[in-house]
């Protein structure tokens, strides 16, 4: 069980009902889905510019079927969250995700969307997987357009591996979780612990020495 809000796919008890017909049907459904993914560009900052560059002529996501950037979430398949997401924007992101019909996937593009990036600060969401379930994380600051395309190809790989015989085929989400964060508060605390250079950001001017970083469970509830 990973940190995503969804269960890992398991075959129904008894080995499932996979047969020649279901695998052919799977191939057809998956082929049509992965070759016609319409991205919902949820671009906020610098990564959005690289996403636009990926959509422009030199890198061209249109050749992968992403001809139309679906700016309405109702008509989109893949939400590409490109850029940093502050807490003020978080409910907007959640609402856009909730408005997308199934099947939908999410690409977290860039370091800020994946983990907060450079911004381990009071206003920044430390990874959008605390808000919405993420399928592919694309590292980089910003990732090159080839990196984003690689991430989208990974989504296509994921789709290729889906099957109607699996329990999670309809990727149903719990309606009661609409508008709620993707992860529980305890898990949010665990995954948003400062790491790397963020642990050094304790001292301000005047060369005062730094002290041990506060553990999550010591902070105010």
């Amino acid at each position: 069980m990973g940190l995503s809000g969804r269960e890992l796919p398991t075959l129904p008890a008894g080995g499932g009902h996979a047969s020649f017909f279901t695998t052919r049907l799977d191939a057809l459904i998956n082929w049509s889905r992965l070759n016609s993914l319409w991205p919902m560009p949820f671009g906020t900052a610098c990564c959005a510019i690289e996403m636009m560059a990926a959509a422009a002529s030199k890198y061209d996501t249109a050749r992968f079927g992403m001809e139309r950037q679906a700016f309405s979430p109702r008509q989109a398949d893949v939400l590409i969250c490109a850029g940093r997401v502050p807490y003020k924007m978080a409910p907007v992101l959640r609402r856009i995700w909730d408005q997308m019909p199934q099947p939908k996937w999410c690409v977290s593009m860039g370091a800020c969307a994946s983990s907060g990036g450079v911004f381990d600060v009071y206003s920044m969401v430390q990874g959008i997987d605390t808000i919405i379930p993420v399928d592919v994380y694309v590292p980089g600051c910003p990732p090159r357009p080839e990196g984003l395309i690689y991430g989208l190809l990974m989504i296509q790989e994921k789709i290729r591996g889906e099957s109607i015989t699996r329990a999670d085929f309809h990727r149903a989400e719990d309606p009661a979780r609409t508008g709620r964060p993707n992860l529980s508060p305890e898990v949010i605390e665990e995954v948003t612990v400062p790491f790397g250079n963020s642990t050094r950001q304790n001292r301000v001017s005047g060369m005062v020495p730094s002290h041990a970083l506060l553990r999550p469970r010591d902070r105010k509830p």
Binding site: A90, P91, G179, P181, P185, E186, E189, P221
Partner: protein, 263 residues
């Protein structure tokens, strides 16, 4: 040993970053010759004691420390007097040196006709973070002062619409750019996430906007003169499936109902 470090770290994080001891209490920098900047000479002549200190920093930048009570008069004079004609208010910001020291509100001016720059600073003690707004004189001060209010907590008297600009309306952790505010905020990440996701309609729309939509804000956002019907039980989340009943309470759901004759 590790616990001692941790406790000190706890204290530091609660109290915020420490400041260096070299930041002074009052105006810094040696006094400069007022005659070196024509505006400062005229300002001293006209306002006398309200001009507390004048210094030159970074080689050629003139900084004048003024009395906060006279800021409206001085800015008005700078704008209207043809020999000064500081038509541009380029920037309004504040500096917090930390450690309980007073805050400085900084105004950066530029005169297009005379090609002169000037920086004004008004020092405010932490107990009285209020100063007159420059909005009646310069419209550029509108958002700049809102940002200073949001991030430092300095109130601007006479500002037409002093509310938070960067942080959400329901932000409860304080004023972020103060030195006693920790970098990662006062609440835990889970709490910050919870508060962000549970914003109400009043946190999205200000009372004048709600009044346009025909809704009256309730609770602490209520204002006596807002028009329109109020929704029973306060603002409800439009995203909530419980609120999707059809044909009930015509005016309450979504405010401006479409006029009858529009088909």
């Amino acid at each position: 040993m590790a616990d001692k470090d941790l406790n000190e770290g706890l204290r530091d994080l609660e109290s915020g970053p420490r400041t260096s001891e070299t930041a002074g209490e009052g105006p810094r920098g040696e006094a400069a010759d007022a005659a070196s900047h024509p505006t400062v000479a005229a300002m001293r002549a006209k306002f006398g004691d309200a001009v507390r200190h004048h210094t030159v920093v970074a080689g050629d930048e003139h900084v004048v420390y003024i009395a906060p009570e006279r800021v409206r008069d001085i800015l008005g004079w700078l704008k209207d007097d043809p020999a000064q004609d500081y038509a541009f208010l380029m920037d309004v910001t504040a500096v917090d040196y930390g450690g309980g020291r007073p805050l400085e509100v900084v105004y950066q001016m530029w005169s297009l006709t005379h090609k002169r720059q000037l920086r004004l600073k008004a020092t405010l003690p932490l107990s009285a973070l209020e100063i007159d707004s420059a909005v009646p004189l310069y419209n550029s001060a509108n958002w700049l002062e809102r940002e200073v209010y949001d991030l430092f907590g300095i109130r601007f008297r006479g500002h037409p619409d002093l509310r938070r600009i960067m942080m959400p309306e329901n932000y409860a952790e304080g004023h972020p750019l103060r030195k006693d505010f920790p970098l990662r905020g006062r609440f835990s990440r889970a709490e910050q996430t919870r508060r962000a996701m549970e914003m109400e309609l009043e946190d999205y729309y200000i009372p004048t906007e709600l009044a346009t939509a025909g809704m009256r804000a309730t609770g602490e956002h209520a204002s006596a003169d807002a028009a329109g019907p109020s929704t029973p039980g306060g603002m409800r989340r439009p995203n909530d499936p419980d609120n999707w009943a059809l044909g009930t309470e015509g005016g309450a759901e979504g405010g401006a109902s479409s006029p009858e004759g529009v088909e």
